[in-house]
Amino acid sequence: MIKLSVCIFCLFIPLSYAQAGAILSLKNDVGVITIDNEMPVDSSHDILPIPVEATAPLGVLAEKLPLFDISSDQASNTPNGANRTTIRVAPGETLPISVKLSNFGGGKRVDVLVHYAIYNSSRDEIYSASETVAVETTVSLVKSATIPYGTYPGIHIAKTSITYQGQEFPAVTQFSFMVERKFFGIFQSDFFSYMFIVVIIGVFMFFLGNILVKHRREMRFIPLDYSNIPHNRRTFYEILSDTIMQMSRRVGDDAITIASKVSGLEIDATTGRILNLDGSPAKIIAELVSEYEKLFGKKVSFSFRKEIEPKGSS
């Protein structure tokens, strides 16, 4: 906390002695006056008349003038006030300035003019306000200072000063804060940080998603095994199965739906696996290719699977 104290001690010394550079002391309840550059004079034999003010108790002589301690801070109950080093306010928002005035100069009520000002980094005043408060001992104030729209971002200073009757020294307190623009209700620096994190997460999710989709697709398009089908019909099963799979890659699940409607072709609606062929397999293949060509306008290419050589064959 920035704290500035003003202490005023008033000691009334007879002006004639003070101006002459005299030193005042008490010796055996007798006043002794020494003059600069001169030896003390023993006044026990040649006593000068001592003014009444000089023998009076010091506490009686001290006049109780107002003495103020002033401190200021951003009000801690604001959303941005959690940490003083990161006080941030956006243009158009209010900065709550908390001010505490303490009068150490006695119990008299004093009218104090409190002046609030905000300066930018070029020391130009961008905000100014004043108010008068009566202070007897302690007063706490909270002033809401609105940061003007169009204020340039940067470090700013909120300065509070007081003026009162009988003031001998200026009493000023200040703290710094940051003016920062907001995007979508978020401070610019936070916004960019969040955007960076979002982009990183987005890129990560994109690649992860691609990997998962690719893996799923690869799993889905692994050629189905028909080694349980008799050799003379197996090629037809494989051609049908691979054709359905090839078309699924190009047009999606509609390929399976269309294949399930081809007469004589019995397939698993989920995987596209050929369950049974009823009738001429070549006719079924021709009809399936014809349907795909008719509905999707796409011709079908085939690839025959490599024959697995029986063990021991050359």
Binding site: P281, A282, A286, K299, V300, S301, F304
Partner: protein
């Protein structure tokens, strides 16, 4: 010892045949051209290429007949053949012939770029 794989291209469409031959040459293959099915069968059985690219609609002897003749030969029974055509397999007899005589691939020209066909050839020949 052969360093270059021989590819027989049976294609009557001159511009396509030239494009295929050019790209095969650039990919270190040795292409042989045949303008019709009869010439294709003769070159296949005499030169024993490593792979045959065969169109279906070709003069003199059509592609399916050429395929049957090549497969009837002891060497031709095992040679990799890629059918490159625009004929869709919507005919029962055509499908039956294809399945019976098993080319490695039945590729629709409009769906395949020449470079992809070359990649397929390289894949088949293990190059």
């Amino acid at each position: 010892m052969k360093t270059q794989k021989t590819i027989l291209v049976v294609e009557d469409e001159k511009s396509l045949c030239k494009a295929i031959v050019d790209i095969l040459s650039r990919n270190n293959f040795l292409p042989i051209e045949a303008k019709n099915g009869k010439e294709g069968v003769e070159l296949a059985l005499s030169r024993h290429p490593d792979l045959i690219l065969l169109d279906l609609i070709i003069p003199e002897v059509d592609g399916i007949t050429a395929l049957k003749k090549i497969r009837a030969d002891a060497w031709g029974a095992r040679v990799p053949i890629i059918i490159l055509t625009n004929v869709s397999a919507t005919n029962e007899q055509l499908v039956d012939d294809i399945v019976t005589h098993k080319p490695m691939n039945y590729l629709i020209k409009s769906d395949w770029k020449i470079q992809d066909v070359v990649a397929k050839i390289q894949e088949i020949l293990g190059k």
